[in-house]
Amino acid sequence: MTAPRKKHREAFLLGNEAVVEGALAAGCSFYAGYPITPSTEIMECMAKRLPHVPDGVFLQMEDEIASMGAVIGASLAGRKAMTATSGPGFSLMQEQIGYAAMTETPLVLVNVMRGGASTGLPTSPGQGDVQQARWGTHGDHPIIVLSAADVPECVEMTVTAFNFAEKYRTPVILLLDEITAHTREKIDLPEPGDFEIFSRLTPTMPPEWYKPFEETMRGVPPMPPIGSGYRFHVTGLTHDALGFPTSRPEEVRALTERQFRKIDRFFEDIQLVEHVGTADAEVVVIAYGCVARSARLAVRQAREAGVRAGLLVLKTLYPFPRRHVEPLLRSCRLAVVPELNMGQLSREVKRVNEGHTVVRTINRIDGQIITPSQILKEIA
């Protein structure tokens, strides 16, 4: 992903601030949001930065539903747009996530996970929104869910989120947690050329030939910005290739199948993981977010103690990277899934486990981090 690095300016940033650096590097020029802990720094930072970006727009909306609406509108008008929120706000956004998925509107939503259900633990970390990120909005829909474990990754994964959103015309959810968002680390600020930046394909055919939701080779139809001469209809109703509402079974099926296929065909591109010493591992830890940092130390300590331990860091949570997890479950005798919830991603691991290995979970829901020693105890 990263090209050879040139001389960089360094900065000491929060994970939340790094998200903004990543977004601007990816070409984001529109932010609409509503303040909520622990994601607020993203919004505050955007409020300062975007007026300096050419055509940059920052909006504080009346709630999270409106924030997502404005982001969708901006994206339809051709902008790379994002919002950020946390637990309760994420719940409010679900309606519009469904609309964005149905209308294939690219956007990035950063959800900084806090602890607990409802208002829960506003200033403590959690990872309880994993399944909600996949299935929070009603109905069958494709979605991409990413995560980041440290501050440099916040930059990288935000850029990746924008690239995926644009490439696959889909909302992309980046899940952070309070620890990652509020950790301050030294990073190299991104420079132009550091990352490959992808922008959505726009149609080149004459407007009267354009079909906004047509089947294409990749399953992703080109998308013109509103006002560019391609007048078409966008609706959250199931629609035909022209975008008009339809309830004809064959058209409904074709739409939903294409929407799934456009993601399913590119698992190799989308499913990002990091392998740490998994080649010879007999025990594997599968982790994401701040827990992956604890796991990294635990695995190193286990190695030092003579245990052949490995770590699989999931950067893509959905579509679930089965192709990386399944072989490890076959080759290892034990898989440990530590999470700051009652067991959400471990459900996916158990789902793809064909009984070859023991899947053990470490669940912590008291607003505290899972420590390296907690993980070490399970693997050593």
Binding site: L59, D63, A66, M68, Y99, I226, T235, G236
Partner: protein
């Protein structure tokens, strides 16, 4: 007169199924005509006009016209419209909503759109009822009126769309009806050509879901009721007994630049200051 219908046909999408999906006598088609005539009268390019609609019968209007059209979720039309307008202020953005859409589920968005004066025209088709879901009372159903969810008569009082929007700070607020079409045309055209947030409430009868349950014998009778009970604000104010009368016309015309204009000016100031400092 023939040019009226010919003109509208020019703006309709020929790959859509006609007639319109609305019930016989529904006023929504008349509002659609009014909208098209206003856009035409202002000489706007089809490519530069965006219709953002919500959910409900009014939401179905968008698909029929050959503009950029977005049919959003229930109550959220103004949020999407706000995003579009801020992203590309050159576009003429029109949010078409029903009464339930704009003032019940989307009430919060509406008052905030009015407060921030985003340069969007809101066209609220007020038929006093949830038509598409089969006739439940809405936030504009008059007190005492019957609906499937107020079978003993509506206990709650109704929103006055004009007063509410006015109080929220909108640049322009007006009310018309589908009986008084020429006046409605003028109100819509005026709203479209003014800066800031401009709302037009169009009273449009729903005979199927509202009229039948409330003593009207036909859609025509509902049009007669509009004709008899609505009158220009100037005449309304001179009335001694205003019971059952509804004032029409333009209620507020404030010169407030749209948020998009104020935002652009702010950004220009910021960049100039930065340029000067460097």
């Amino acid at each position: 007169m023939a040019e009226i219908t010919q003109l509208i046909h020019k703006y309709l999408r020929h790959n859509k199924k006609f007639p319109l999906v609305f019930c016989p006598g529904c006023g929504h088609g008349i509002v659609l005509g009014s909208l098209v005539r206003s856009v035409h009268a202002l000489g706007l390019n089809k490519d530069d006009v965006v219709i953002v609609a919500g959910i409900g019968c009014s939401g179905r209007i968008a698909a029929y016209v050959d503009f950029n059209t977005v049919h959003t979720t229930h109550g959220r039309a103004l949020t999407v419209a706000t995003g579009i307008k801020m992203a590309n202020p050159k576009l003429t953005v029109i949010a078409v909503m029903g009464d339930g859409d704009a003032f019940s589920i989307g009430g919060n968005h509406l008052i905030h759109a009015a407060r921030r004066n985003i340069g969007v025209t809101a066209l609220v088709l007020n038929n006093f009822i949830y038509g598409m879901t089969g006739g439940q009372c809405s936030s504009t159903t008059p007190e005492g009126a019957y609906s499937h969810t107020s079978p003993m008569g509506q206990l709650e009082s109704a929103f006055d769309i004009v007063e509410l929007t006015k109080a929220a700070g909108a640049a322009g607020v007006s009310r018309g009806t589908v009986y008084h079409v020429k006046e409605l045309d003028a109100l819509v055209a005026d709203a479209l050509s003014r800066p800031g947030f401009n709302l037009v409430e169009a009273l449009t009868p729903c005979f199927t879901q509202y009229g039948r349950g409330n003593g009207f014998k036909s859609a025509v009778e509902m049009f007669r009721w509009l004709k008899d009970s609505c009158l220009p604000i100037e005449r309304f104010e001179k009335l001694e007994d205003r019971t059952g009368k509804i004032p029409l016309g333009s209620f507020v015309r404030r010169d407030i630049p749209g948020l998009e204009t104020r935002y652009a000016a702010m950004c220009e100031g910021v960049r100039r200051k930065k340029g000067g400092a460097a």
